[in-house]
Assembly symmetry: C2
Homo-oligomer: 226 residues x 2
DNA sequence: GCGACGCAGATCGTATATGATTTGATACAT
DNA sequence: ATGTATCAAATCATATACGATCTGCGTCGC
């Protein structure tokens, strides 16, 4: 979706290549939280020198995906429960607003596509396919917020999702009860947008939908499956 | 406030030094929008090699303060009216929420300090001192949002202000009428917080206060001083 | 006169080499 | 046995050198 990493790499500097490559590895779970990123090691693997790799890692640090200490090294950010809460809180905020800004410019086709994606999500619940459900969930929300006319905001939304995907194997997990609720809220949100609902109402609906997922996680933390 | 740049520079890498140095130059207006940043030139001035300077510039690019093109060079971001709108919109959002999250943990001393700062701002209006007014405005808002317990959100707020300060000489300007309104809204916001107002109410008050400044700017754009 | 070609300067991009810092292990003294 | 000093390996940090790319200008052919 965002970048195919191996297809359209023409014109990119090696530093940018390394940046995307490492980010993909973090997103797909090859480098899980806590994994140590050694400059020389990655440089050899990508067949480049250490300088561009260093630059890539510093950029990832700025994005919050890795931590870095002078003369020590870098490692994929350890995203504990607190970090998860902060990230979800921020993402709920910016995505909610982005969705509200995007709502007025969404056409019927796009909304119809969102409904189809949501229907697929419901199917995933029937067949118990959490992986597809998670993938489709991003697809659903993307369909809405990608139309946001404010590029800064959109960038923040992307970064938020990027962080979340980095920890999908460590903390985040599929909560069946919440998932059903989620699908229903998607429908409600689409209805609200289609009816040309008040922007603030759309914003809060989108925000609270995401915060609901956070709450479900927190409730699950307190009382692990008995 | 954020960094003194020349005082506590111990333990920082040269790349970090360059990063802060360039950022300060952008913030204080030495490098105004459009200014061309030449690697070798800056490297000579700071008496370091080009590599750390390059890293610093790439980080500034990621922050949105400079634009960068392969084999061409970097320049301080040209922040036109559209960019200003997007930045203000995003900042209003994140700062509003950060303020709402911070509100419950503000103590009486802090609120009292905010009131004093606001009183000083009113004085600046009487003596027509736009520069101090602008400085105090940041100080006022910092007093409130710095207590925000979500570090990601706080970082976004800082970045927003950083961007704004970068263009203070090009677009942003002091609008006397709006400034009076601003002081009044500050008081209303403090009252709301002190009364333990509903978080959403605090958020929207803080947000709309900032958006009001944006609106004043837009109105001024359409109808320049007659 | 006008457009295409090509050269020179400027600037970025990266590889290589060297220095600085940290870490961990080992040996020694108490 | 424990604590400390010392050394070697690993790793980051940066300077230097060289290569790649772009820009602007001058020249040549038409």
């Amino acid at each position: 979706m965002t970048v195919s990493t191996d297809s359209a790499t023409v014109g990119l500097s090696k530093a940018q290549l390394a940046h995307q490559w490492i980010r993909s590895r973090i997103s797909d779970g090859t480098f899980s939280p806590g994994y140590r990123l050694v400059l020389g090691q990655i440089a050899r693997e990508l067949d480049v020198s250490a300088v561009p790799v260093r630059e890539a890692i510093r950029l990832l640090e700025a994005e919050g995906l890795v931590t870095f200490e002078r003369n020590i090294g870098a490692q994929v950010a350890m995203l504990d429960a607190t970090e998860y809460v902060h990230t979800m809180q921020t993402l709920s905020l910016v995505e909610g607003y982005a969705t509200a800004l995007a709502a007025p410019v969404l056409n019927a086709d796009t909304l119809e596509r969102a409904r189809r994606i949501n229907a697929e999500m419901a199917d995933c619940l029937d067949h118990f396919d959490p992986a597809s459900f998670t993938r489709l969930n991003l697809e659903f929300h993307s369909t809405l917020f990608e139309a946001c006319p404010n590029p800064h905001l959109l960038d923040l939304v992307h970064r938020g999702w990027s962080r979340l995907s980095a920890l999908r194997d460590s903390i985040f997990s599929f909560v069946p009860g919440r998932a059903h609720e989620s699908v229903a809220e998607h429908t409600a949100l689409l209805d609200l947008i289609e009816d040309g609902g008040d922007p603030l109402q759309v914003e809060l609906a989108a925000r609270n939908h995401r915060l609901g997922t956070l709450d479900a996680f927190l409730a699950r933390q307190k009382a692990p499956s008995p």
